[in-house]
């Protein structure tokens, strides 16, 4: 049987923590290796820490360090793909897909997690998700991993139906919070929102963080 390996592909340092930390933790608990392919360093982010400690030129160094810490906290490998924040949608899709395909064929994962193109709000999310789907499509049938796509847009359930996978990651909540907190330059807003209203029933944002939802990509049609 193929050795299980999960590859998570998102464009920004912190997407992995907000979007999939619980799912990642559940795989790590089972001893399954997880690799994060991080598209950019989020160097065009708006958040500079609160109070501000970064600037446009130093932000990438901070975020790179935060990414490494988050991946340590989640006990996963990380590879930085070297694209530039906000520009992914202007790269040639085939080129990005080819780049991703070569890495995936090297790692040979059983599961790939990415964003659902068109329903992932941030243009970088949509663009990288599209390239990932293309990359996985181009892997030969016998080696093609399963692909889960994550939607974020407010309307997504109406249009796409109920997600195939809905993980209640409450057992891994502390782990997820610890991962989010490593992203010091980005997460202060979210952390204060959580500390103000720590009750799951009263805080819609917490619901989003608690249930990690994915659609299983169907390559047959």
């Amino acid at each position: 049987m193929t050795q299980e390996h999960v590859v998570v592909i998102y464009p920004h340092p912190d997407d992995e923590s907000f979007g999939a930390a619980g799912t990642i933790a559940s795989y790590r608990e089972k001893g399954v290796p997880v690799t994060y392919l991080c598209g950019t360093l989020g160097e065009m982010g708006r958040n500079m820490g609160n109070p501000v400690f970064a600037n446009r030129e130093t932000l990438s160094s901070y975020r790179k360090e935060e990414l490494v810490k988050a991946c340590q906290a989640l006990d996963i490998d990380v590879r930085m793909l070297g694209y530039r924040d906000k520009t992914l949608e202007f790269e040639q899709v085939e080129q990005v897909a080819g780049h991703l395909q070569s890495i995936l064929e090297e790692i040979n994962p059983t599961l790939v997690i990415t964003h659902y193109p068109g329903y992932a709000v941030h243009p970088d999310h949509d663009a990288l998700g599209e390239a990932v789907i293309e990359a996985v499509r181009n892997i030969e049938d016998s080696r093609r991993p399963e692909l889960w796509a994550q939607a974020i847009a407010t309307n997504y359930e109406k249009e796409l139906g109920e997600p195939d996978i809905r993980h209640d990651i409450k057992p891994y909540w502390d782990k997820k919070m610890a991962a989010i907190e490593t992203h010091l330059s980005q997460a202060s807003g979210m952390m204060s929102l959580i500390k103000e209203k720590p009750d799951f029933n009263e805080n819609e944002e917490l619901e989003h963080l608690r249930y990690e939802r994915f659609y299983r990509w169907n390559y047959n049609n």
Binding site: M44, N47, M48, N55, R56, L81, R84, K86, H122, T154
Partner: protein, 123 residues
């Protein structure tokens, strides 16, 4: 970065006048503006490493937000809402405007050497 002291920033702007300089100019309200508020618009623009030469430049305004204008050979370069500045260790003038939560809304940076344009080496 520190809160702008107009006279200090003016002095630095003067030092770059008449030289070939690289600028980073940016404004943004974030990629999630219309996600969190459906009535909001996502608006932003940036240019990185535009090479320009200005005959003179000024920082104008009072209190806590300033405007910076650079008079170019064939036009103007303008930023509004700048609140903080720094002359970094590479002698680059970094200026930015932040909102109450510390998020960047506008940035104007001037340097005699190009700003980095790559993230990290591709794996």
């Amino acid at each position: 970065m520190e809160v702008i002291v107009k006279e200090k920033v003016q002095q630095i702007i003067d030092q770059f006048a008449g030289k070939d300089v690289y600028v980073h100019l940016e404004t943004t309200n974030g990629a999630y503006a219309s996600h969190f508020d459906e009535n909001a618009y996502n608006v932003g623009a940036f240019i990185r490493n535009a090479k320009v030469k200005y005959e003179h430049g000024k920082i104008v305004g009072s209190g806590n937000a300033y405007r910076v204008g650079l008079k170019l050979d064939l036009g103007w370069l303008y930023a509004e809402g700048v609140t903080d500045y720094e002359l970094d260790d590479q002698n680059r003038l970094l200026m930015a405007g932040h909102d109450r939560e510390g998020r960047l809304m506008v940035a104007l940076e001037i340097s005699e050497t190009p700003f980095s344009h790559e993230s990290v080496g591709q794996s």
